[in-house]
Protein backbone atom coordinates (compact mmCIF):
# COMPACT_ATOMS: atom_id res chain seq x y z
CA UNK A 1 0.00 0.00 0.00
CA UNK A 2 1.24 3.48 -0.85
CA UNK A 3 0.40 6.89 0.54
CA UNK A 4 0.41 10.47 -0.62
CA UNK A 5 2.55 12.14 2.03
CA UNK A 6 3.11 15.69 0.72
CA UNK A 7 1.58 17.78 -2.00
CA UNK A 8 2.36 21.17 -3.47
CA UNK A 9 0.25 23.47 -5.64
CA UNK A 10 1.41 26.48 -7.58
CA UNK A 11 -0.94 28.67 -9.58
CA UNK A 12 -0.47 32.12 -11.12
CA UNK A 13 -0.29 33.91 -7.77
CA UNK A 14 -0.15 31.45 -4.89
CA UNK A 15 1.80 28.48 -3.69
CA UNK A 16 0.49 25.94 -1.19
CA UNK A 17 2.12 23.00 0.55
CA UNK A 18 -0.29 20.46 1.98
CA UNK A 19 -3.04 22.98 1.44
CA UNK A 20 -1.37 25.73 3.48
CA UNK A 21 -0.30 28.93 1.80
CA UNK A 22 3.45 29.31 1.48
CA UNK A 23 3.55 32.49 -0.54
CA UNK A 24 1.30 34.91 -2.38
CA UNK A 25 2.67 36.72 -5.37
CA UNK A 26 3.88 40.22 -4.62
CA UNK A 27 2.64 42.24 -7.59
CA UNK A 28 4.99 45.12 -6.66
CA UNK A 29 8.11 42.98 -6.81
CA UNK A 30 10.43 43.35 -9.82
CA UNK A 31 11.01 39.59 -9.61
CA UNK A 32 9.01 37.08 -11.63
CA UNK A 33 6.59 34.93 -9.67
CA UNK A 34 8.84 31.87 -9.91
CA UNK A 35 11.84 33.94 -8.81
CA UNK A 36 9.87 35.09 -5.77
CA UNK A 37 9.21 31.46 -4.93
CA UNK A 38 12.87 30.59 -5.45
CA UNK A 39 13.87 33.34 -3.02
CA UNK A 40 11.30 32.09 -0.52
CA UNK A 41 13.04 28.72 -0.58
CA UNK A 42 16.25 30.40 0.60
CA UNK A 43 18.55 28.12 -1.37
CA UNK A 44 21.66 28.84 -3.44
CA UNK A 45 21.25 27.15 -6.81
CA UNK A 46 22.31 29.51 -9.62
CA UNK A 47 21.32 26.93 -12.25
CA UNK A 48 17.72 27.89 -11.46
CA UNK A 49 18.15 31.10 -13.45
CA UNK A 50 19.13 29.18 -16.59
CA UNK A 51 15.99 27.03 -16.54
CA UNK A 52 12.86 27.65 -18.57
CA UNK A 53 9.55 28.07 -16.78
CA UNK A 54 8.57 24.42 -17.08
CA UNK A 55 11.78 23.35 -15.34
CA UNK A 56 11.57 26.21 -12.82
CA UNK A 57 8.02 25.17 -11.90
CA UNK A 58 8.95 21.53 -11.39
CA UNK A 59 12.12 22.46 -9.56
CA UNK A 60 10.32 24.78 -7.13
CA UNK A 61 7.61 22.18 -6.46
CA UNK A 62 10.23 19.52 -5.74
CA UNK A 63 12.11 21.84 -3.36
CA UNK A 64 8.96 22.74 -1.41
CA UNK A 65 8.11 19.06 -1.10
CA UNK A 66 11.61 18.35 0.19
CA UNK A 67 11.29 21.20 2.66
CA UNK A 68 8.13 19.60 4.03
CA UNK A 69 9.92 16.25 4.10
CA UNK A 70 13.52 16.92 5.14
CA UNK A 71 14.41 13.23 5.37
CA UNK A 72 13.50 12.61 1.73
CA UNK A 73 17.07 12.52 0.49
CA UNK A 74 18.57 10.48 3.32
CA UNK A 75 15.73 8.02 3.71
CA UNK A 76 15.85 6.55 0.23
CA UNK A 77 18.72 5.27 -1.87
CA UNK A 78 19.71 7.46 -4.80
CA UNK A 79 17.77 5.32 -7.29
CA UNK A 80 14.66 4.61 -5.25
CA UNK A 81 12.74 7.81 -5.99
CA UNK A 82 10.94 7.67 -9.34
CA UNK A 83 9.87 10.80 -11.22
CA UNK A 84 6.57 10.64 -13.11
CA UNK A 85 5.48 13.90 -14.69
CA UNK A 86 2.93 14.90 -17.29
CA UNK A 87 1.16 17.81 -18.92
CA UNK A 88 -0.90 18.39 -22.04
CA UNK A 89 1.21 20.87 -24.00
CA UNK A 90 4.71 19.51 -23.71
CA UNK A 91 7.29 22.32 -23.75
CA UNK A 92 5.11 24.62 -25.90
CA UNK A 93 6.14 27.95 -24.32
CA UNK A 94 9.83 27.34 -24.85
CA UNK A 95 9.15 25.84 -28.29
CA UNK A 96 7.50 29.10 -29.32
CA UNK A 97 10.43 31.12 -27.98
CA UNK A 98 12.95 28.91 -29.77
CA UNK A 99 11.02 29.28 -33.02
CA UNK A 100 11.11 33.06 -32.58
CA UNK A 101 14.87 32.87 -32.09
CA UNK A 102 15.40 31.53 -35.60
CA UNK A 103 12.46 33.15 -37.40
CA UNK A 104 12.62 36.65 -35.96
CA UNK A 105 16.04 36.98 -34.37
CA UNK A 106 17.67 34.90 -37.13
CA UNK A 107 19.82 33.02 -34.64
CA UNK A 108 18.59 29.68 -33.32
CA UNK A 109 19.32 29.79 -29.61
CA UNK A 110 21.03 26.66 -28.27
CA UNK A 111 20.21 27.60 -24.68
CA UNK A 112 16.50 27.67 -25.56
CA UNK A 113 16.68 24.55 -27.74
CA UNK A 114 17.88 22.32 -24.90
CA UNK A 115 14.65 23.15 -23.03
CA UNK A 116 12.39 22.20 -25.95
CA UNK A 117 11.87 18.73 -24.47
CA UNK A 118 9.42 18.32 -21.60
CA UNK A 119 11.55 15.74 -19.78
CA UNK A 120 14.38 18.22 -19.18
CA UNK A 121 12.72 19.12 -15.87
CA UNK A 122 13.23 15.51 -14.77
CA UNK A 123 16.93 15.93 -15.55
CA UNK A 124 17.07 19.19 -13.58
CA UNK A 125 15.49 17.59 -10.50
CA UNK A 126 17.73 14.52 -10.84
CA UNK A 127 20.86 16.68 -11.10
CA UNK A 128 19.87 18.84 -8.13
CA UNK A 129 19.32 15.82 -5.88
CA UNK A 130 21.72 13.30 -7.43
CA UNK A 131 18.80 10.97 -8.06
CA UNK A 132 19.45 8.14 -10.52
CA UNK A 133 15.95 6.63 -10.49
CA UNK A 134 13.20 5.99 -13.01
CA UNK A 135 11.99 8.90 -15.18
CA UNK A 136 8.96 9.37 -17.36
CA UNK A 137 7.30 12.40 -18.90
CA UNK A 138 3.93 11.79 -20.57
CA UNK A 139 1.65 14.03 -22.59
CA UNK A 140 -2.03 13.55 -21.80
CA UNK A 141 -5.06 15.50 -23.09
CA UNK A 142 -5.92 16.53 -19.55
CA UNK A 143 -4.98 15.90 -15.93
CA UNK A 144 -5.69 12.20 -15.43
CA UNK A 145 -5.46 10.81 -11.85
CA UNK A 146 -5.77 7.23 -13.18
CA UNK A 147 -2.57 7.59 -15.17
CA UNK A 148 -0.60 8.56 -12.07
CA UNK A 149 -2.12 5.74 -10.00
CA UNK A 150 -1.70 3.11 -12.69
CA UNK A 151 1.83 3.87 -13.77
CA UNK A 152 2.87 5.04 -10.31
CA UNK A 153 1.79 1.72 -8.83
CA UNK A 154 3.82 -0.10 -11.47
CA UNK A 155 6.91 1.97 -10.63
CA UNK A 156 6.43 1.34 -6.91
CA UNK A 157 6.14 -2.38 -7.59
CA UNK A 158 9.28 -2.59 -9.72
CA UNK A 159 12.01 -1.24 -7.50
CA UNK A 160 11.10 2.37 -6.69
CA UNK A 161 10.15 3.03 -3.06
CA UNK A 162 8.88 6.56 -3.50
CA UNK A 163 7.61 8.62 -6.36
CA UNK A 164 7.63 12.33 -6.98
CA UNK A 165 4.78 12.95 -9.40
CA UNK A 166 3.61 16.09 -11.02
CA UNK A 167 1.27 17.76 -13.42
CA UNK A 168 3.08 20.74 -14.92
CA UNK A 169 0.52 22.89 -16.69
CA UNK A 170 2.67 25.91 -17.49
CA UNK A 171 1.84 27.66 -20.75
CA UNK A 172 0.63 30.94 -22.16
CA UNK A 173 0.86 32.68 -18.79
CA UNK A 174 -1.17 30.04 -17.01
CA UNK A 175 0.35 28.15 -14.12
CA UNK A 176 -1.25 24.96 -12.94
CA UNK A 177 1.33 22.96 -11.05
CA UNK A 178 0.35 20.06 -8.84
CA UNK A 179 3.09 17.89 -7.43
CA UNK A 180 2.87 15.15 -4.87
CA UNK A 181 5.04 12.63 -3.11
CA UNK A 182 3.98 9.00 -2.83
CA UNK A 183 5.73 6.72 -0.38
CA UNK A 184 5.47 3.01 0.29
CA UNK A 185 7.12 3.01 3.70
CA UNK A 186 5.41 5.98 5.27
CA UNK A 187 1.78 5.46 6.20
CA UNK A 188 1.38 8.99 7.48
CA UNK A 189 -0.72 10.22 4.60
CA UNK A 190 -3.76 9.55 2.48
CA UNK A 191 -4.11 6.41 0.44
CA UNK A 192 -2.58 6.69 -3.04
CA UNK A 193 -5.63 6.31 -5.26
CA UNK A 194 -7.34 8.25 -8.02
CA UNK A 195 -9.98 9.66 -5.70
CA UNK A 196 -7.44 11.19 -3.34
CA UNK A 197 -5.30 12.52 -6.16
CA UNK A 198 -8.33 14.21 -7.64
CA UNK A 199 -9.30 15.59 -4.23
CA UNK A 200 -5.82 16.94 -3.49
CA UNK A 201 -5.24 18.27 -6.97
CA UNK A 202 -8.22 20.58 -7.00
CA UNK A 203 -8.03 20.31 -10.79
Amino acid sequence: MSFITVCCHINENSCFVNGETVLHKNEESPDSWFKQLYKELGIEYPKFYKMDMLSQGGFIGSEFIKRAKPDLISKYKDDEIALLFANSKSSADTDIRFKESFLEKKTPSPSLFVYTLPNIVLGEISIRNKWFGENMFAILPKFTPDFFVQYGTILLNTGSKAMLAGWLGISEGRVQVFMFLVETENTNGEKFDAENILKYSGL
Binding site: D78, D79, L83, S88, K89, S90, A92, D95, I96, F98, K99, F102, T107, P108, S109, P110, F113, V114, T116, L117, P118, N119, I120, V121, L122, G123, E124, S126, I127, N129, K130, W131, F132, G133, E134, N135, M136, F137, A138, I139, L140, P141, T144, F147, Q150, Y151, T153, I154, N157, T158, G159, S171, E172
Partner: protein, 360 residues
Protein backbone atom coordinates in the same frame (compact mmCIF):
# COMPACT_ATOMS: atom_id res chain seq x y z
CA UNK B 1 4.99 -13.92 -20.34
CA UNK B 2 4.83 -10.79 -22.47
CA UNK B 3 4.93 -11.40 -26.19
CA UNK B 4 6.23 -8.85 -28.67
CA UNK B 5 6.02 -8.88 -32.45
CA UNK B 6 4.09 -7.53 -35.45
CA UNK B 7 6.88 -5.02 -36.01
CA UNK B 8 6.50 -2.44 -38.76
CA UNK B 9 8.56 0.48 -40.05
CA UNK B 10 7.94 3.36 -42.44
CA UNK B 11 11.14 5.22 -43.22
CA UNK B 12 13.19 6.47 -46.17
CA UNK B 13 14.29 2.84 -46.54
CA UNK B 14 10.83 1.51 -47.23
CA UNK B 15 7.10 1.62 -46.75
CA UNK B 16 6.89 -1.54 -44.69
CA UNK B 17 8.96 -3.91 -42.57
CA UNK B 18 10.02 -6.12 -45.45
CA UNK B 19 11.36 -3.24 -47.56
CA UNK B 20 13.11 -1.71 -44.56
CA UNK B 21 14.82 -4.92 -43.53
CA UNK B 22 15.86 -5.66 -47.08
CA UNK B 23 17.52 -2.23 -47.27
CA UNK B 24 19.29 -2.79 -43.97
CA UNK B 25 20.32 -6.28 -45.07
CA UNK B 26 21.80 -4.76 -48.22
CA UNK B 27 23.51 -2.10 -46.07
CA UNK B 28 21.75 0.74 -47.84
CA UNK B 29 21.32 4.03 -46.02
CA UNK B 30 18.33 6.35 -46.08
CA UNK B 31 20.65 9.32 -45.63
CA UNK B 32 21.26 11.76 -48.48
CA UNK B 33 22.46 15.32 -48.88
CA UNK B 34 19.45 17.64 -48.96
CA UNK B 35 20.32 20.96 -50.63
CA UNK B 36 19.53 24.12 -48.64
CA UNK B 37 17.75 22.15 -45.92
CA UNK B 38 19.54 23.69 -42.99
CA UNK B 39 19.72 27.05 -41.28
CA UNK B 40 21.18 29.76 -43.55
CA UNK B 41 20.49 27.50 -46.53
CA UNK B 42 23.21 25.08 -45.60
CA UNK B 43 22.96 21.71 -47.34
CA UNK B 44 22.55 18.98 -44.76
CA UNK B 45 22.56 15.19 -44.73
CA UNK B 46 19.18 13.91 -43.63
CA UNK B 47 17.27 10.66 -43.69
CA UNK B 48 14.03 12.08 -45.05
CA UNK B 49 10.97 10.19 -46.29
CA UNK B 50 10.12 11.03 -49.89
CA UNK B 51 6.69 10.78 -51.44
CA UNK B 52 4.40 11.45 -48.51
CA UNK B 53 2.51 14.70 -48.04
CA UNK B 54 4.12 17.26 -45.74
CA UNK B 55 0.69 18.29 -44.57
CA UNK B 56 -0.20 16.59 -41.27
CA UNK B 57 2.64 14.16 -41.81
CA UNK B 58 2.69 12.95 -38.21
CA UNK B 59 -1.00 12.05 -38.29
CA UNK B 60 -0.61 10.38 -41.68
CA UNK B 61 2.25 8.21 -40.43
CA UNK B 62 0.71 7.04 -37.16
CA UNK B 63 -2.51 6.07 -38.95
CA UNK B 64 -0.65 4.38 -41.80
CA UNK B 65 1.58 2.33 -39.49
CA UNK B 66 -1.32 1.10 -37.38
CA UNK B 67 -3.19 0.02 -40.51
CA UNK B 68 -0.13 -2.03 -41.43
CA UNK B 69 0.22 -3.50 -37.95
CA UNK B 70 -3.41 -4.59 -37.85
CA UNK B 71 -2.76 -6.85 -40.85
CA UNK B 72 -0.31 -8.78 -38.69
CA UNK B 73 -2.42 -9.29 -35.58
CA UNK B 74 -5.99 -10.08 -34.66
CA UNK B 75 -7.45 -6.73 -35.75
CA UNK B 76 -10.17 -6.83 -33.11
CA UNK B 77 -7.63 -5.88 -30.42
CA UNK B 78 -7.65 -2.28 -31.61
CA UNK B 79 -11.22 -1.80 -30.37
CA UNK B 80 -10.71 -3.60 -27.09
CA UNK B 81 -10.95 -1.88 -23.73
CA UNK B 82 -8.02 -4.06 -22.72
CA UNK B 83 -5.73 -2.49 -25.33
CA UNK B 84 -3.62 0.58 -24.72
CA UNK B 85 -1.84 2.55 -27.45
CA UNK B 86 1.38 4.24 -26.40
CA UNK B 87 2.93 6.77 -28.75
CA UNK B 88 6.57 7.74 -28.37
CA UNK B 89 7.54 11.07 -29.86
CA UNK B 90 9.61 14.10 -28.96
CA UNK B 91 7.91 16.77 -31.04
CA UNK B 92 4.75 15.23 -32.48
CA UNK B 93 3.01 17.48 -34.96
CA UNK B 94 4.95 20.60 -34.05
CA UNK B 95 4.59 22.30 -37.43
CA UNK B 96 0.81 21.92 -37.31
CA UNK B 97 0.26 23.47 -33.90
CA UNK B 98 3.28 24.48 -31.89
CA UNK B 99 1.09 25.42 -28.90
CA UNK B 100 -0.41 21.97 -28.66
CA UNK B 101 1.74 19.58 -30.71
CA UNK B 102 -0.13 16.33 -30.04
CA UNK B 103 -3.79 17.22 -29.60
CA UNK B 104 -5.04 17.44 -33.20
CA UNK B 105 -3.28 14.39 -34.59
CA UNK B 106 -4.04 12.16 -31.62
CA UNK B 107 -7.71 13.18 -31.66
CA UNK B 108 -7.92 12.30 -35.35
CA UNK B 109 -6.06 9.04 -34.73
CA UNK B 110 -8.39 8.00 -31.88
CA UNK B 111 -11.43 8.78 -34.00
CA UNK B 112 -10.10 6.97 -37.05
CA UNK B 113 -9.56 3.69 -35.20
CA UNK B 114 -12.37 4.17 -32.65
CA UNK B 115 -9.97 3.44 -29.82
CA UNK B 116 -11.53 2.52 -26.51
CA UNK B 117 -8.78 4.15 -24.45
CA UNK B 118 -7.04 7.49 -24.76
CA UNK B 119 -3.45 6.86 -25.95
CA UNK B 120 -0.54 7.83 -23.72
CA UNK B 121 2.21 9.89 -25.34
CA UNK B 122 5.64 9.25 -23.88
CA UNK B 123 7.82 12.27 -24.59
CA UNK B 124 11.12 11.60 -22.94
CA UNK B 125 13.70 12.73 -25.50
CA UNK B 126 15.60 9.98 -27.30
CA UNK B 127 14.67 7.20 -24.86
CA UNK B 128 10.94 7.68 -25.57
CA UNK B 129 10.70 4.56 -27.75
CA UNK B 130 12.43 2.16 -25.35
CA UNK B 131 10.60 3.72 -22.40
CA UNK B 132 7.26 3.35 -24.20
CA UNK B 133 7.90 -0.36 -24.87
CA UNK B 134 8.86 -0.89 -21.23
CA UNK B 135 5.75 1.00 -20.09
CA UNK B 136 3.60 -1.12 -22.39
CA UNK B 137 5.17 -4.29 -21.02
CA UNK B 138 4.61 -3.12 -17.46
CA UNK B 139 0.96 -2.30 -18.15
CA UNK B 140 0.43 -5.84 -19.42
CA UNK B 141 2.41 -7.41 -16.59
CA UNK B 142 0.26 -5.55 -14.06
CA UNK B 143 -2.89 -6.94 -15.67
CA UNK B 144 -4.33 -3.50 -16.48
CA UNK B 145 -4.23 -4.27 -20.19
CA UNK B 146 -3.98 -7.45 -22.26
CA UNK B 147 -2.48 -5.81 -25.33
CA UNK B 148 -0.42 -2.73 -26.08
CA UNK B 149 0.44 -1.14 -29.39
CA UNK B 150 3.56 1.03 -29.28
CA UNK B 151 4.01 3.56 -32.07
CA UNK B 152 7.16 5.65 -32.35
CA UNK B 153 7.12 8.63 -34.68
CA UNK B 154 9.07 11.82 -35.24
CA UNK B 155 9.30 13.91 -38.39
CA UNK B 156 12.04 16.28 -39.50
CA UNK B 157 11.29 19.97 -39.03
CA UNK B 158 13.29 23.17 -39.41
CA UNK B 159 12.77 23.55 -35.68
CA UNK B 160 14.63 20.38 -34.72
CA UNK B 161 17.26 20.64 -37.44
CA UNK B 162 18.13 24.28 -36.64
CA UNK B 163 18.22 23.34 -32.97
CA UNK B 164 20.79 20.61 -33.47
CA UNK B 165 22.72 22.92 -35.80
CA UNK B 166 22.77 25.56 -33.06
CA UNK B 167 24.37 22.97 -30.77
CA UNK B 168 26.96 22.13 -33.48
CA UNK B 169 25.76 18.56 -33.19
CA UNK B 170 24.99 17.87 -36.86
CA UNK B 171 27.50 15.82 -38.84
CA UNK B 172 28.96 17.25 -42.05
CA UNK B 173 28.80 13.75 -43.59
CA UNK B 174 26.42 10.85 -43.04
CA UNK B 175 26.73 9.99 -39.34
CA UNK B 176 29.38 7.40 -38.40
CA UNK B 177 28.48 5.90 -35.01
CA UNK B 178 31.41 4.78 -32.85
CA UNK B 179 33.90 5.64 -35.64
CA UNK B 180 37.06 7.58 -34.91
CA UNK B 181 36.00 10.30 -37.37
CA UNK B 182 32.42 10.68 -36.12
CA UNK B 183 31.40 14.30 -35.78
CA UNK B 184 27.73 14.38 -34.89
CA UNK B 185 24.26 13.17 -35.66
CA UNK B 186 22.34 12.92 -38.90
CA UNK B 187 18.67 13.62 -38.32
CA UNK B 188 16.13 11.16 -39.60
CA UNK B 189 12.39 10.71 -39.68
CA UNK B 190 10.36 7.58 -39.41
CA UNK B 191 7.52 5.74 -37.83
CA UNK B 192 7.60 2.29 -36.34
CA UNK B 193 5.37 0.00 -34.32
CA UNK B 194 5.47 -3.14 -32.23
CA UNK B 195 2.62 -4.99 -30.56
CA UNK B 196 2.82 -6.46 -27.07
CA UNK B 197 0.38 -8.94 -25.63
CA UNK B 198 -0.19 -11.41 -22.86
CA UNK B 199 -1.35 -13.84 -25.57
CA UNK B 200 0.74 -15.12 -28.45
CA UNK B 201 -2.43 -16.16 -30.28
CA UNK B 202 -3.08 -12.63 -31.52
CA UNK B 203 0.08 -12.64 -33.67
CA UNK B 204 -0.05 -14.09 -37.18
CA UNK B 205 3.70 -14.64 -37.29
CA UNK B 206 5.93 -15.79 -34.48
CA UNK B 207 6.51 -13.49 -31.55
CA UNK B 208 9.26 -12.99 -29.00
CA UNK B 209 9.46 -12.56 -25.26
CA UNK B 210 9.88 -9.04 -23.92
CA UNK B 211 11.79 -8.80 -20.66
CA UNK B 212 10.80 -5.32 -19.56
CA UNK B 213 13.62 -3.10 -18.50
CA UNK B 214 14.26 0.02 -16.52
CA UNK B 215 15.27 3.64 -16.92
CA UNK B 216 17.85 5.63 -14.97
CA UNK B 217 18.94 9.24 -14.95
CA UNK B 218 22.60 10.31 -15.12
CA UNK B 219 21.98 13.12 -12.61
CA UNK B 220 24.79 14.91 -14.38
CA UNK B 221 23.89 17.30 -17.21
CA UNK B 222 20.74 18.19 -19.16
CA UNK B 223 22.31 18.13 -22.62
CA UNK B 224 25.58 16.24 -22.24
CA UNK B 225 26.07 12.55 -21.53
CA UNK B 226 27.71 11.42 -18.31
CA UNK B 227 31.47 10.96 -18.55
CA UNK B 228 31.17 7.73 -16.59
CA UNK B 229 28.09 6.32 -18.32
CA UNK B 230 26.46 6.15 -14.89
CA UNK B 231 22.79 6.24 -15.93
CA UNK B 232 23.21 3.76 -18.78
CA UNK B 233 25.28 1.51 -16.53
CA UNK B 234 22.61 1.58 -13.84
CA UNK B 235 19.73 1.08 -16.25
CA UNK B 236 21.28 -1.99 -17.92
CA UNK B 237 22.44 -3.42 -14.59
CA UNK B 238 18.93 -3.15 -13.15
CA UNK B 239 17.33 -4.54 -16.31
CA UNK B 240 19.59 -7.60 -16.24
CA UNK B 241 19.20 -8.12 -12.49
CA UNK B 242 15.43 -7.78 -12.48
CA UNK B 243 15.20 -10.36 -15.25
CA UNK B 244 17.87 -12.63 -13.73
CA UNK B 245 20.03 -12.45 -16.82
CA UNK B 246 23.78 -12.72 -16.78
CA UNK B 247 25.68 -10.40 -19.14
CA UNK B 248 27.12 -13.49 -20.82
CA UNK B 249 23.68 -14.51 -22.05
CA UNK B 250 23.41 -11.45 -24.29
CA UNK B 251 24.05 -12.33 -27.92
CA UNK B 252 23.85 -8.85 -29.29
CA UNK B 253 23.54 -5.20 -28.23
CA UNK B 254 21.43 -2.80 -30.26
CA UNK B 255 23.11 0.35 -28.99
CA UNK B 256 21.96 3.96 -29.21
CA UNK B 257 25.11 5.19 -31.02
CA UNK B 258 24.15 8.71 -32.12
CA UNK B 259 27.64 9.39 -33.53
CA UNK B 260 28.33 12.42 -31.37
CA UNK B 261 31.80 12.24 -29.85
CA UNK B 262 30.55 12.26 -26.27
CA UNK B 263 27.52 9.98 -26.57
CA UNK B 264 29.35 7.10 -28.19
CA UNK B 265 32.23 7.43 -25.76
CA UNK B 266 29.76 7.36 -22.86
CA UNK B 267 28.15 4.17 -24.18
CA UNK B 268 31.53 2.47 -24.61
CA UNK B 269 32.42 3.31 -21.00
CA UNK B 270 29.09 2.01 -19.70
CA UNK B 271 29.34 -1.26 -21.66
CA UNK B 272 32.88 -1.78 -20.42
CA UNK B 273 31.79 -1.19 -16.83
CA UNK B 274 29.04 -3.74 -17.42
CA UNK B 275 31.63 -6.16 -18.83
CA UNK B 276 29.58 -6.67 -21.97
CA UNK B 277 31.81 -4.65 -24.31
CA UNK B 278 32.92 -7.81 -26.10
CA UNK B 279 29.38 -8.58 -27.19
CA UNK B 280 28.59 -7.88 -30.86
CA UNK B 281 27.02 -4.44 -31.15
CA UNK B 282 25.64 -2.07 -33.73
CA UNK B 283 24.04 1.32 -34.08
CA UNK B 284 21.36 1.67 -36.74
CA UNK B 285 21.71 5.46 -37.00
CA UNK B 286 23.84 5.03 -40.14
CA UNK B 287 20.76 3.56 -41.87
CA UNK B 288 17.88 5.61 -40.47
CA UNK B 289 19.61 8.70 -39.09
CA UNK B 290 18.57 9.72 -35.59
CA UNK B 291 14.79 9.49 -35.54
CA UNK B 292 14.57 10.74 -31.92
CA UNK B 293 11.31 9.50 -30.37
CA UNK B 294 10.91 6.84 -33.06
CA UNK B 295 14.47 5.50 -32.75
CA UNK B 296 13.88 3.05 -29.90
CA UNK B 297 10.93 1.45 -31.67
CA UNK B 298 12.62 1.33 -35.10
CA UNK B 299 15.73 -0.24 -33.58
CA UNK B 300 13.67 -2.75 -31.60
CA UNK B 301 11.79 -3.66 -34.79
CA UNK B 302 15.06 -4.23 -36.67
CA UNK B 303 16.37 -6.26 -33.72
CA UNK B 304 13.32 -8.54 -33.97
CA UNK B 305 14.00 -8.94 -37.69
CA UNK B 306 17.63 -9.75 -36.98
CA UNK B 307 16.46 -12.49 -34.60
CA UNK B 308 13.96 -13.82 -37.13
CA UNK B 309 16.72 -14.03 -39.73
CA UNK B 310 19.57 -14.96 -37.36
CA UNK B 311 21.53 -12.22 -39.00
CA UNK B 312 23.75 -9.75 -37.25
CA UNK B 313 23.59 -6.56 -39.25
CA UNK B 314 26.60 -4.40 -39.95
CA UNK B 315 26.92 -1.06 -38.13
CA UNK B 316 26.87 1.29 -41.11
CA UNK B 317 29.41 4.14 -41.11
CA UNK B 318 31.86 2.47 -38.75
CA UNK B 319 35.42 1.88 -39.92
CA UNK B 320 37.89 2.41 -37.11
CA UNK B 321 37.48 2.36 -33.35
CA UNK B 322 36.97 5.81 -31.92
CA UNK B 323 36.17 5.20 -28.28
CA UNK B 324 38.52 4.85 -25.31
CA UNK B 325 37.03 1.44 -24.47
CA UNK B 326 37.02 -1.22 -27.16
CA UNK B 327 33.67 -2.39 -28.46
CA UNK B 328 32.88 -5.34 -30.71
CA UNK B 329 31.17 -3.44 -33.49
CA UNK B 330 29.70 -5.39 -36.38
CA UNK B 331 31.74 -4.42 -39.44
CA UNK B 332 29.89 -6.76 -41.79
CA UNK B 333 26.67 -8.75 -41.88
CA UNK B 334 27.13 -12.09 -40.20
CA UNK B 335 24.95 -15.14 -39.71
CA UNK B 336 24.63 -15.71 -36.02
CA UNK B 337 22.26 -17.44 -33.65
CA UNK B 338 20.62 -14.52 -31.87
CA UNK B 339 18.57 -15.60 -28.87
CA UNK B 340 18.88 -12.69 -26.45
CA UNK B 341 19.17 -9.05 -27.47
CA UNK B 342 19.81 -5.99 -25.31
CA UNK B 343 18.42 -2.68 -26.58
CA UNK B 344 19.58 0.58 -25.02
CA UNK B 345 18.87 4.28 -25.45
CA UNK B 346 20.11 7.52 -23.92
CA UNK B 347 18.96 11.09 -24.33
CA UNK B 348 18.83 14.74 -23.31
CA UNK B 349 17.76 15.32 -19.76
CA UNK B 350 20.30 12.65 -18.76
CA UNK B 351 17.86 9.81 -19.35
CA UNK B 352 18.77 6.21 -20.19
CA UNK B 353 16.65 3.11 -20.76
CA UNK B 354 17.13 -0.53 -21.68
CA UNK B 355 15.18 -3.69 -22.40
CA UNK B 356 15.85 -7.30 -23.34
CA UNK B 357 14.15 -9.45 -25.96
CA UNK B 358 14.38 -13.21 -26.13
CA UNK B 359 13.57 -15.78 -28.72
CA UNK B 360 10.88 -18.17 -27.52
Amino acid sequence: MIFIGAEEIISPLGQNMEENFLSVYENRSGISLIPHAGFNDESIHLSKIAGIPNYNKFEFLIIDILEKVLKQVDPSIVLSKKTIVIISSTKGDLDRNISNPFADSITAFVKYFELANEPIVVSNACISGVLAINAAGNFIKSGLYDHAIVLGCDVISDFVLYGFQSLFAVSAKPCAPFDVDRDGITLGEGCSAVVLSSSKEIFQKSSFQLLTGTSANDANHISGPSRTGEGLFRSVKKTLEQNHIDGNEIDFISAHGTATVFNDEMEAIAFERLEINEKPLNSLKGYFGHTLGAAGVIETAISLQMMRNNLLVKSLGYKESGTSKTLNIATENKSSELNTILKTASGFGGCNASLVIRKI
